[in-house]
Amino acid sequence: MSSPNLTAEQIAFQERARAWLEANPAPETDLELPLSPLELATREQVEYYRDWQRRCYEAGLVGADISESYGGHGHSGCQSIANREMSRAGAPFLLNTVGLSMMIPAVLAHGTEEQKRRFVPKALSGEEIWCQGFSEPGAGSDMANQQTMAVRRDDEWVVNGHKVWTSFAQFAKHMILIARTSREHKYDGLSFFLCPVEGHPGVTIKPLVKMTGELGFNEVFFEDCVIDDSLRLDDVGKGWTVAMTVLTHERGAAEGAGGGISSVHPIERLIALARSSMRNGRRASDDPVTRDAIVQQAIAHEGLRQNARRARVPALNDHPMRLRMQQGVLATELEQSCARLGVDIAGARSTLYKHDAAAPENGYWPLAYMNSYGFTISGGSNEIQRNILGERILGMPKSK
């Protein structure tokens, strides 16, 4: 039986999506697959996920609601169904998260017809991977404090500067780049570019090592890098406005819009871990304090899902952005506390790195815990997100 609220188009879409996913499981592979897109390390892994994204795209599960003119499938209200079905099926994550959840919304909202036709289709298929150039070494959570300069020279821009925490840069064709085009205005002095990176002169990519010892993001140096003015998105000085479009989508994406990140429900994983861990002579799953902690996580997890559901019911939202703007903070901190609980439950076995055969679930818990800080810090730390929530949603005075 299907939901009473879906349109006929949506019902048909859902049935097709479900059938396709059942008939087309992800290919078997001998590769060691990463826990999330951010841990992608090798070309082979990238090709595996690129192939999977292409299949999903061809099956209509990626770009569902995007116009056929830009390579999409022209549906309405079907992408969230596709995301749910992929998540439910435990499908692999979609590789091109920056392209899908950041570049495409920005280009559709701010781009020229030519830009839309040039960039959207290949991002949907996974042919062209995107990375994001928002963070700088000195800027931290103050995103408007960009120091990378783009100086106009006829129909070109010459870029000099230094970006950090750039995930996917080593595999990316393009970068969404925010750069300073005027020193006079903090916010209005920024502009937005669709910058080529792969093999582009003046662009140097240097991998950074995370605290876990894994690779996963990069420093990107620009030295007299030349960008054609046709790659500018929106007007000169409108970079901040575009960036806000992007970031709203990025945080919103944490509700799973990019396809299922993890194939097993995290609470099920915690319960399974507790069943296989001992604590004071009995299974941790029989320890009531551990049980209480797991159920707390389960409630938080269900709350996040139901928030996403309620956000789509206007009658149950006095303020239209109140729920939407919370999801980033909630999702990232839930992931963190969930992983931390896993570390605690694993006890002595949480000391083990992923290469130790005795590490529970290939060392998932301590690595997931440490990697979770990437999410609570990046894109404006959660401290800044709380300022924004207090100011924009509750109307309290600015703290900065």
Binding site: M1, S2, S3, P4, N5, L6, I267, I271, A274, S285, D286, P288, R291, D292, I294, V295, Q296, A298, I299, A300, E302, G303, L304, Q306, N307, R309, R310, R312, V313, A315, L316, R322, L323, Q326, V329, L330, E383, R386, N387, L389, G390, E391, I393, L394, G395, M396, P397, K398, S399
Partner: protein
Amino acid sequence: MIDSPPRDFGFGPDEEMLRDLARKFLDESLPVEKLRVLVAEDHDSVYERHELPRWDEAMWKKIVELGWSGLAVPEEAGGVGFKRVGIVGLVEEAGRHALPSPLVATLNATYVLDETEGASDWLARVAQGTTASLAMTNAEGSWEPSEGGVSAREEGGDLVLDGTAYFVQDAFKAEVLVVAAHCGGDRALCVVPTSSAGITLVPDRIHDLTRDQATIRFEGVRVAKENVVSRDAVGALERAWPSVLVTVAADLVGCAEWQLQTTVQYAKDRKQFDRPIGFFQAVKHPLVNAMLDIDRARSLVYNAACTIDYGDRDEALKAARMAKSAASDAGAFISDRSVQLHGGIGFTWECDVHIFFKRSMHNQALYGDGIYQRSKLAETMIGEI
């Protein structure tokens, strides 16, 4: 269980209209200034002179005319048969106004009656405005449907009740009691007018100013056969339990939202160190955290109501326990911050914050707090120990 419960929780135009009407009615009939005069004009009256907490009976008559008290009565018994998701929307508004009334007690009793075969007459009376309350709890405040302090014996076809029921909510506003009584190996569910011979209502002295609570003694209370509406009180209570939990959770959420908005407003108005205190992250961030907690609880309340309406019983109980756990904890947190961030004034009787603080504290405990709900959830989600 149907495959996909409605994505909007089934909260449609009817539910929205009822909720909006309720909000308007309560905004007009019971602004906080009026609430203060009604329940907290004089601190000695309840706490020292032991008068019953006051409520507005004329307003209640209007509420009955609006049909709120019979919302949960099914259509076949002459009621509106409203879905739970609409009812929680209404109860949220009652909580947001700290409405003193037998609304929640009557709804909770209705849910239980509706799970029996023999209560259609009583349900019809509730639809017409009869108020009711559940009498099922023992002296320890146990919320287990299988426990209780009243027993029944058969006598000439009738039942005769003896014993004591504790923590009966708004008993002095209820015209009838829905009593679960041990009867041999079973428990019988009886509907008994509060005015019956042999019933003594002893008022509990409680903190909450927006309700009453009583200890009720039953001494040879005779219950006619037709008022013994079920011989399986435990089953009826268990089936009704998700609705009971989610209704109290909705009250908590509404109450918490008032506490949040009132404290936010205070943080904008109140200046210290030449700035509104809402400038300071030590004020702003806790209020943001309170908002996150309240929204989580609210979403879980609508999910639980929807699962009762459209899902299966086990899922409904699980969803309702999650909602009550989240609502109790959200209520405790914003209650704490609402007093602390109001500073000295929040610590006084003249500030309205304490009225909501006490209603919330009462509801946090009622039918089990967060720890309790989670221990029950663990049994279903992880398994018995």
